[in-house]
């Protein structure tokens, strides 16, 4: 979280201004968090309607600010909203089609063997993560790819820390098995 200063106000100060209808302060919040939210949504849901999902998250944030009792936990709350939006979206039929389109698009642009290898592994990682159950996928992404502490993940998902650990353990085991089945042994 950014340190408070007149030039870079902290989240709590920005939220207070947003509650007064200050959209410029909301714009600062958006720029501060949008890439993180975007990355999480992309890893959870893929590229389909990514802009719409990001917009949905921040609209929910704007509308929900009056109910946020602890502004200092804005980051946790924001992640929770992002995961809810992702959970609502996860049954979209276009997910599978986009995976195939992504692979096809990547194959057309790279002829270097190293690039092809990288694309292959990228596709593998994408497919591996997507085949995980949503609950395991969320924990793996937040912990292993976004470096969130287990305690914070527990707060975001409203589950015990023990559950975070068990989901993470099962996710990693499932991924290793998936990669092994695809001929990649780590």
């Amino acid at each position: 979280m950014a340190e408070a200063s007149p030039t870079f106000p902290d989240d709590t100060a920005l939220i207070q201004r947003c509650l007064g209808g200050d959209t410029q302060s909301f714009q600062v919040l958006y720029r501060r968090y949008q890439s993180r939210v975007r990355g999480t949504l992309y890893r959870l849901c893929g590229p389909t309607h990514l802009d719409d999902l990001v917009q949905d998250v921040f609209l929910r944030v704007w509308r929900g600010l009056p109910r946020l009792r602890q502004p200092q936990l804005f980051g946790v709350w924001l992640y929770r909203i992002a995961l809810n939006v992702a959970a609502d979206h996860r049954h979209q039929a276009g997910l599978q089609r986009d995976q195939q389109r992504t692979l096809a698009a990547q194959g057309h642009h790279h002829t270097d063997p190293l690039d092809l290898n990288h694309c292959h592994y990228q596709d593998l990682v994408e497919r591996g993560i997507r085949q995980l159950p949503f609950e395991q996928r969320a924990v793996l992404i937040l912990h292993d790819l976004e470096d969130r502490p287990q305690k914070e993940i527990a707060e975001i998902l409203k589950i015990p820390v023990g559950t975070v650990k068990s989901r993470l353990f099962r996710a990693r085991a499932a991924l290793r098995q998936f990669f092994a089945d695809e001929g990649v042994h780590l």
Binding site: T23, Y30, Q34, V125, D144
Partner: protein
């Protein structure tokens, strides 16, 4: 205390190294978002109105009750009224001057 989860640095490193890049947003996404924000955010004090609303409601109910439910008489006054009624009802039964209906000859 829960058992610490064993690290898997190899897997984590592989995942991070081969993550797909996140697609960039549309150039006008931010502007579109800001344009769709509702003009006013609901005041935070909405939750603090409830005690005031409850107090008004309770006062209204009390006032309604005063109008619809007849006032109760004090207990002593009620008893006195009952006693008077009983005396008047039975006084003619024991009186020496019989009421007309007692001397009405039977057919």
């Amino acid at each position: 205390m829960t058992t610490p989860l064993p690290d898997d640095p190899q897997l984590v490193s592989f995942l991070r190294q081969h993550q797909s890049p996140v697609p960039a947003p549309a150039l006008d996404l931010e502007a579109r978002l800001l344009a769709t924000l509702p003009p006013h955010v609901a005041p935070r004090s909405a939750g603090r109105r409830w005690p005031f609303v409850l107090a008004i409601g309770a006062a209204a109910l009390w006032g309604l009750g005063q109008v619809l439910i007849p006032a109760r008489q004090p207990e002593t006054l009620r008893l006195a009224t009952v006693e008077t009624h009983l005396e008047e009802s039975w006084s003619h039964v024991f009186s020496a001057h019989a009421e007309p209906w007692t001397t009405e000859p039977l057919p």
